[in-house]
Subunit: 527 residues, 2 copies
Amino acid sequence: MIPGKITDGDGSRDKRNMRTSRVHCIFTCLEQRILMSSSTTPFEQTPLYPLINPRSIAFFGASNRFSAMGTNQLHSILSLGFKGNIYPVHPSEPTVLGLPAYRSAADLPEVPDLAVLVLPTAIVARSLEACGQKGIRHAIVVSGGFKEVGGEGIALERELVQIAARYDIRFVGPNCLGVVNPHHLFNVTFAAFEGRPGFIGMASQSGSLLTQMFRYLEQFHIGFSTGISVGNEAVVDIVDCLEYLAACPHTRVIGLYIESIRRGRAFIDTARRIAPHKPIVAYYAGGSEAGRRAAFSHTGAMAGPDRLYDGVFRQSGVIRAGSLTELFDFCWVLGRCAVPQSRRIAVLTHSGGPGAAAADACSRNGLALPPFSTLTAEKLTPLIPRTGSVNNPVDLTFTKEPLDYFRSIPAVLLEESGIDGLLVYCYMPPKNMQRMMESQGFSAEETDRLTQAVAEDLAKHTAALIRSNAKPCLGFTYQSPDMPIIAKLMEYGIPVLPSPERGARAMAALAGYGELMHKIGTIQEEA
Amino acid sequence: MIPGKITDGDGSRDKRNMRTSRVHCIFTCLEQRILMSSSTTPFEQTPLYPLINPRSIAFFGASNRFSAMGTNQLHSILSLGFKGNIYPVHPSEPTVLGLPAYRSAADLPEVPDLAVLVLPTAIVARSLEACGQKGIRHAIVVSGGFKEVGGEGIALERELVQIAARYDIRFVGPNCLGVVNPHHLFNVTFAAFEGRPGFIGMASQSGSLLTQMFRYLEQFHIGFSTGISVGNEAVVDIVDCLEYLAACPHTRVIGLYIESIRRGRAFIDTARRIAPHKPIVAYYAGGSEAGRRAAFSHTGAMAGPDRLYDGVFRQSGVIRAGSLTELFDFCWVLGRCAVPQSRRIAVLTHSGGPGAAAADACSRNGLALPPFSTLTAEKLTPLIPRTGSVNNPVDLTFTKEPLDYFRSIPAVLLEESGIDGLLVYCYMPPKNMQRMMESQGFSAEETDRLTQAVAEDLAKHTAALIRSNAKPCLGFTYQSPDMPIIAKLMEYGIPVLPSPERGARAMAALAGYGELMHKIGTIQEEA
């Protein structure tokens, strides 16, 4: 990799697929954005399709011992309920995890779509060659001990690439954790899948990061459409993954964990073509000296200076996240929300502290909280207690009527022409609701059921309001995502970020996406 | 309030209570820090003691209707199990929430320690006067409609202050949400208390913020020692609260939510005297234009420029938090951990992505990740898989033996003289542990029980290691705080921050506290 190479933006980019009409879609709501194709290749014909959606798998390296990595990975495939044929290959065991095993690739009863190799380094090449001879054209090489360890590993990896070229095998890895595609009930990673099929398509230079996000995303009622651990990128790299994820109909937004970009020019051209239709968010770990050293000992990647990557992302139309938390926050809101036409937003709260904190965070992230028009103030007045404020933030001081808070007031705010987005503080402590209901003679179970029903009703109304509107609306809270109102809002597709700062930064990312696309569009029109 | 006044640091501060010996305690571990008194007044004799630890309460403004704020607040007191006498005062109801009610203050059978007033604005003064006539000397005035609404409210508030002066009443408020002291089973806020008695003493210019943190802190197995919503600070202000919290034996660390400081000079002198013994962390909401406007409409406070407050905090030895989330993160680690002697730390991970992200976040927050000595590298080698790294971050790539990960390796790292703190990535998915155990024939219940037992055992060993060490150790994770290993570590007093960035910033805050105290100490010695 030559880090210097990726900045030579000389305007020689491929313009064949660029249409100015794309520019106009950026300010429309999400559904329209998704409807426009971001790839000219039909999904089923994309090069990685059989690798990520295999109908049948040969598995090398699983046994009946759970101390082995391969056994766990095969178990992951089985436990998610993969629908296709699975052929464990094992030199001595007659069955592996209850499946009939085969001595070698040559013995397999069909040519499977995919081979997964979780083998000791020394025998990977030989097994890959056997796969090629059998006619297998796609593989995932999980095994490590290649380029990332240096020395002899470099030669061993070169050998894999040569075999792949000889037999026309497209493989992910080596030194990766595999692929997860919950829409296809396919999870080849070490970790048991926990979560739901979602809309975040992710390519990651850290494999375990993907698996560690299964439960993390599930908390917020979101999930991966596809996750690809790219490992050493000997054959398939981040750019190939971008192409696949652009075509994938389940993917609304693309997330990248990057320690280094190997094909800079191709990355910029590809990302720039995709971004107007599917937002791309990237976290770059090698930006600081310590991060760079950590990345180097992790994948042997040579990271470039922070500013260089900043330029690459800007040129590519890629939103840069400052942390992994932010990477997923940004993917969440870009996958769920409309893009605001400006940075002018309103904040709604029933608590002064979180409201002031949100206002402060908005200011620090380049969002403006303009005053409302007289008309809006007039419409708000009857909905807000005397002790409250019809300024921006709107502060109710307490919630008299939850349906006003979650529906009538947001409706007024979203109608205000000077406002292009809304941040709503979300808090409704179940204990206080219980107290109110118990005082009216309800039993504990009835109270529980009612609390859920109220939350459901509010979330449904809020979601309907937001769907009918082209302006983004985000919630923010300090509470655990299992608080009923928060869980329900998220279930109905409204992102509720875990702090005002994260809410403000996510809103700023939405606005930033609009601006980036506008800029790219303008450059395209001029070119 | 005159914002300009608080920067005139002319060295005229009160030096009577300053001893250079205090400087030496800053690099010792927490227990020692707490043992040193930060107040010369015995706790029971502090002016706010009867207000925050009342033996008996007169309650004005509760009825039997749960739509009334006062009813909810009285219910909060009752439901937490307050041990003293409670006397509801109501003009017509014979009983309130099952307690005998009294027509007026004059009718009360004793002179209670405290009066709580949740009354319409117009009758607050009259009732406060009646309390004074009865001999009540402490009050909490929850009612709003005073200075914060301007106009006539200003005069009404002045009247309260005059009555208080006439009858020698010390009161918190008006326009506040009350006080919570879980150690005394005393919660006068609107929200039912959810959580545990803890070590964070908080004074807040947002009342509802306090109540909204009950559940938030409980997630992390921490809680308030005391929370005081100061409201308009007509009599009792943030500085008085600092004095109380300094003397409070349950309080290990003081948290402040600030929209404006009214007595700048007193704040600096008081905080500076307390901070070497009890860390003080502050979040200032008025730093940006929008934050300032929000704060103004919230409490009518005139916030000063951001830089001014930055200077005040620095002069006072107060750690500044950039957000409310950070305020509680910093309180958490300052209340739990030793202070590092330098900014050189080690990162331990079994996953490259989170490790690189942590290294990057450390770098960006002024922490150094130096290489280890040859001796340390030698000690680490047998504990780390061949595919792992004995560099800093130490990366195991996978956890072979959890007890090594949580005990043997941290022990080696904490022994390294070039390292003064440790950040450990925490992740142990229960589903994978279950798989392992089920493959060995354990039932689902046994597996559950074993998972908990393993987590308990690991946490116990880790806690013992850390207790015996003067260097801070923090965990970080992306998982929900209810994951067994994370819940157990927190239960045993080890903070596990919800992201590498928050872990790194919390570690930097610990180091920053040490540096601030060193600076204050040096200035004191020179003066």
